[in-house]
């Protein structure tokens, strides 16, 4: 049995950053990071392109370089990072069961941080009908295949989604010698992606097909084509391709949170946390894309820095106030994170609330309501666009009563 002060599940940006912050104070080997993969670093490891580290490292590096830096920092700080260590369940309030090649372990810690991240919904979860040929991947699988295993993909790809990660998939495909012949998105406003369109057009001859969904996968053995539908008109056409990449549509890897019986946020589907990133079980915290699937790696890392402060307070015996009010997202927002405001608590990470919108709002006039009263209203100078996190300054919640009714964020 291992008895560290803190056990962190997941050696991605959030977990590693939390470890690097906590280890110097807890002592060498007192912070244990467990990861099921063969190498620590999380998703950035196989995102072999630049754009990482702006907000936390204050410089721009590639995904693999970013992952290496975070691993080195956590190790140097004295954290014990174990890979090929899969947490398979709970054996107590803050006690985990772990499988590793050197045996089954039990870890009893004083605090647990869940930083298990998120994954993209595969084809089945998106209920895409048709045949079951080879050649259908999520971005995660594609990047793993190409960047870590140097495997070949096909020659003509269709990419479903037009989010940041979708463009990342296009880059990976290009590196693998596979041309993206079409990108589709169910959203009907191409302008939502203007930021990506400019560089995107250089990569992609065809424009993004907006308001379009995949209605059938065709192919015996290998993918041969997909059928797409323009939702407004119902017109369908077949696009020949041998590779289909399903991007975006994130779901947190919340298995441990659910099997612990933690309160979940119905919107994010991650554990419900307060602004200190505490879950409903004392001493169990959560950080990163498990809470907001999906935001960038550096935002996840800053969650890790934030949660470390509150884990320390917990270890020092600080008890949170019992009274809390829910923070609720109103239409067109699908979710808001964090979802609880507790009396006496700090601002959330980066002094921001994170929201996910169902439709493009170019000039969002965000409102905060409580107990039927409009408390604040402010025009946010950036659009709320589907496919990426919409960030709202925390001070918009000034005057809310942490002992009152639910705080509603809407437009």
């Amino acid at each position: 049995m291992l008895t560290p002060d803190v056990v962190i599940v997941g050696a991605g940006p959030a977990g590693l950053t939390a470890a690097a912050e906590l280890a110097p104070r807890c002592g060498t080997g007192r912070v244990l990071v467990l990861d099921r993969e063969a190498a620590a670093g999380g998703i950035p490891r196989h995102s072999d392109h630049t754009g990482y580290g702006i907000r936390d490292l204050k410089r721009v590096v590639t995904g693999p370089a970013y992952a290496r830096t975070l691993v080195d920092r956590a190790r140097a700080a004295g954290a014990d990072i174990r890979t090929e260590a899969t947490v398979t369940g709970w054996s107590g309030e803050r006690s985990l069961e772990v499988t590793t090649p050197s045996g089954r372990l039990r870890v009893d810690a004083r605090a647990v941080v869940l930083a298990t991240g998120a994954r993209e919904r595969p084809r089945a979860a998106r209920l895409i009908p048709g045949d079951r040929p080879a050649g259908v991947y999520t971005t995660g699988q594609l990047q793993n295949l190409v960047h870590l295993h140097h495997r070949e993909v096909g020659r003509r790809a269709v990419v479903v989604g037009a989010e940041l990660v979708s463009w990342s998939a296009v880059l990976t495909l290009r590196e693998a010698g596979c041309r993206t012949v079409l990108m589709t998105t169910e959203y009907d406003t191409p302008d939502a992606y203007a930021a990506f369109h400019v560089p995107g057009r250089a990569l992609l001859k065809e424009a993004v097909a907006t308001g379009t969904r995949i209605t059938r996968i065709i192919g015996h053995g290998r993918l041969e084509a997909v059928e797409v539908e323009e939702t407004a008109t119902g017109v369908r056409r077949t696009v020949a391709c041998d590779t289909l990449i399903l991007t975006g549509s994130w779901i947190p890897d919340h298995e441990l949170a659910r099997t612990a019986g933690l309160d979940l946020d119905p919107g994010t589907k991650g554990p419900l946390v307060d602004t200190a990133l505490r879950t409903s079980r004392p001493g169990v915290f959560a950080a990163g894309n498990l809470l907001h699937a999906v935001d960038t790696a550096d935002i996840a890392a800053l969650d890790g820095r934030h949660v470390a402060r509150h884990v320390r307070l917990w270890l020092d015996g600080h008890q949170p106030h019992e009274t809390a009010v829910p923070i609720v997202a109103d239409e067109p927002f699908r979710w808001v994170a964090p979802g609880l405001l507790r009396v006496g608590d700090p601002a959330p990470p980066r002094d921001r609330l994170l929201l996910w919108t169902e439709r493009l709002v170019r000039v969002p006039r965000v409102t905060v309501r409580q107990d039927g009263r409009l408390l604040n209203r402010r025009v946010i100078p950036w659009p709320a666009a589907p496919g990426r996190v919409f960030r709202v300054p925390w001070n918009l919640l000034r005057n809310v009563d942490p002992k009152g009714g639910p705080i509603r964020i809407g437009l």
């Binding site: 099921r36 993969e37 063969a38 090929e84 899969t86 398979t88 499988t99 590793t100 090649p101 050197s102 045996g103 089954r104 994954r119 993209e120 919904r121 595969p122 084809r123 089945a124 979860a125 209920l127 009908p129 048709g130 045949d131 079951r132 040929p133 080879a134 991947y137 999520t138 995660g140 699988q141 793993n144 295949l145 870590l148 295993h149 495997r151 209605t215 059938r216 996968i217 015996h220 053995g221 290998r222 779901i251 298995e255 659910r258 099997t259």
Partner: protein
């Protein structure tokens, strides 16, 4: 019951069984077998296993590159009591007997079985009125444990059911089983007993003294009911070479009617009936701890909710008659139907993530019962029309087939030197899996190296699959032997590693990373 009709294309699903190619040497084509069983599904494998328990040489052929790759792989995987069979039929008798035989065989071999029980739920007054009749039918089928229950009891047993249930009937012994392991265990057992397994061998033509080759009507044979020793034989022309046998058993599932035609018969037509299924995330399993059955109507058995042996929850199947025997694609209308049905039956289930969707084809025939008919003059036996209950009945069908063949003239001397039945790797969520087994990991670290995170499949299990007597032919075969890549991420994390392990044919992760 595997598919006999031409496969979807060369190397359907992109799989080519190199092992099968390597292993087949010329001598398998020179030999004259006592019995050739066509179709390495659950039924054909059970028959081959049973016959090779006698002093006979047996060959098991299949058009596909793997065993259990046709109808058997997409079964609803229920071990049936047979409570709702048509009383007096061969099917009723064999399902009842098969339940006992397969339960015992599962204990011997480690095929996972969970005794979940089932609950039939009545949603309309008509359905409620039908319950007493179903109970009587169960009794007529020799099953006496069904009990009527009130609506309150229905909700006590399955609290997640949608509103409106009026009552129910319990079937305490209805169980779930692993259909993949069952077929694999039977085929492995048959191999150990000496059966020659020829995969990737599609039977295209039949020749022989008595075979109804084109232009020759069946029944013109002058042969007696007893096969002359060393006498007349049938030659099966396959896609890879000719196989000769004294007796032929047709267990070709979806292709059974076409093969029957090659023997000159026009007994029946197989209609491929497509059933689509949705498999929900393991986190949904607490919602359904037993099988929830609809009350059967004139429109068929309807949509059920069932826990799976792998710890998921399944919703389905649809029932749609097709003409294309290779169309195992899912459809928009099928999904829509399941979603609508599911929302009514168990709304909270539909809020869970879907892990997989499947479509399977069952061999529906224009005949109300199993069709097990010998043609002694041709030394040929048809085993057709084995529907969904064939998994449960498989061992009883094999036993029955043995009797029919003996009566038709096949000499059967039980062997006294039979090998022990194989111990199969456990795929069941309710039993100890390698990743949980501290002693096993201490002995061999490969069982502590989890490769597929969602299903917790270890490097050791993938290696073992490749070292087994019937190694996987491709990804689908590996999935059925280990559960690898069957989980919620469907390869997001593990797909590339599994791919690499397949390329090394079950090497280590370290080798695979090179």
């Amino acid at each position: 019951m595997t598919e006999h009709s031409p496969p979807a294309g060369p190397g359907a699903r992109g799989e080519v069984n190199e092992q099968a190619n390597e292993q087949v040497n010329e001598s398998v084509y020179d030999k004259v077998y006592d019995v050739a069983v066509i179709g390495a599904g659950v039924v054909g494998s059970a028959i081959a296993r049973d016959l090779s328990g006698h002093d006979l040489s047996v060959v098991l052929l299949d058009a596909r590159d793997d065993v259990g790759d046709g109808t058997s792989k997409a079964n609803t995987a229920i071990l049936h009591t047979g409570f709702d069979a048509k009383p007096g039929t061969l099917e009723s008798r064999l399902v009842r007997r098969g339940y006992e035989l397969l339960s015992a065989y599962a204990d011997d071999t480690g095929i996972p079985v969970e005794r979940t029980g089932a609950l039939l739920v009545a949603w309309t007054p008509e359905e409620q009125d039908a319950l007493p009749g179903l109970r009587e039918k169960a009794v007529a089928n020799g099953y006496e444990h069904c009990e009527p229950v009130t609506a309150e009891e229905v909700y006590r047993q399955v609290p997640a059911l949608g509103p409106g249930a009026l009552g129910g009937l319990t079937v305490p012994d209805e169980s779930i089983i692993c259909t993949w392991t069952t077929t694999l265990a039977l085929a492995t057992d048959a191999t150990a007993r000496g059966t020659t397994v020829l995969l990737g061998h599609r039977v295209d033509a039949v020749e022989g003294a008595e075979a109804g080759t084109e232009g020759t009507a069946a029944g013109e044979s002058t042969a007696g009911t007893e096969a002359a020793p060393g006498g007349d034989t049938t030659t099966l022309r396959t896609s890879r070479g000719s196989v000769t046998a004294r007796w032929v058993v047709n267990a070709a599932g979806l292709g059974a009617d076409a093969l029957d035609g090659l023997f000159g018969h026009r007994r029946f037509t197989v209609t491929p009936r497509r059933g689509e299924l949705l498999v929900f995330d393991k986190l949904a399993r607490p919602l359904a701890d037993r099988i929830v059955l609809p009350v059967p109507s004139s429109l068929g058995k309807g949509v059920l909710i069932s826990p799976t042996i792998y710890g998921n929850v399944m919703l389905g199947p649809t029932a749609e008659d097709l003409t294309d025997r290779t169309d195992t694609g899912t459809s928009e209308s099928g999904f829509e139907f399941l979603r609508t049905k599911g929302t009514r039956l168990m709304p909270t289930l539909l809020e869970e993530e879907v892990t997989a969707s499947y479509a399977g084809l069952r061999a529906a025939i224009d005949h109300g019962d199993y069709l097990i008919e010998p043609s002694p003059e041709q030394r040929y036996l048809l085993v057709g029309g084995i529907r969904s209950t064939g998994l449960t009945a498989s061992l009883a069908i094999a036993e029955h087939v043995r009797g029919v063949l003996a009566e038709a003239g096949l000499k059967l001397e039980p062997r006294l030197d039979l090998p022990e039945p194989p111990r199969m790797p456990n795929l069941g969520e309710a039993y100890l899996r390698p990743y949980q087994d501290a002693a096993l990991i201490a002995e061999d670290s490969a069982y502590g190296r989890i490769v597929c995170f969602c299903e917790r499949v270890t490097e050791g299990e993938i290696r073992d699959a490749y070292r087994s007597p019937l190694p996987p032919a491709g990804l689908d075969g590996l999935r059925r032997r280990t559960r690898a890549m069957n989980g919620r991420c469907q390869g997001f994390y593990c797909g590339a590693t599994v791919d690499a392990l397949m390329a090394t044919k079950g090497g280590t992760c370290q080798e695979a990373a090179k």
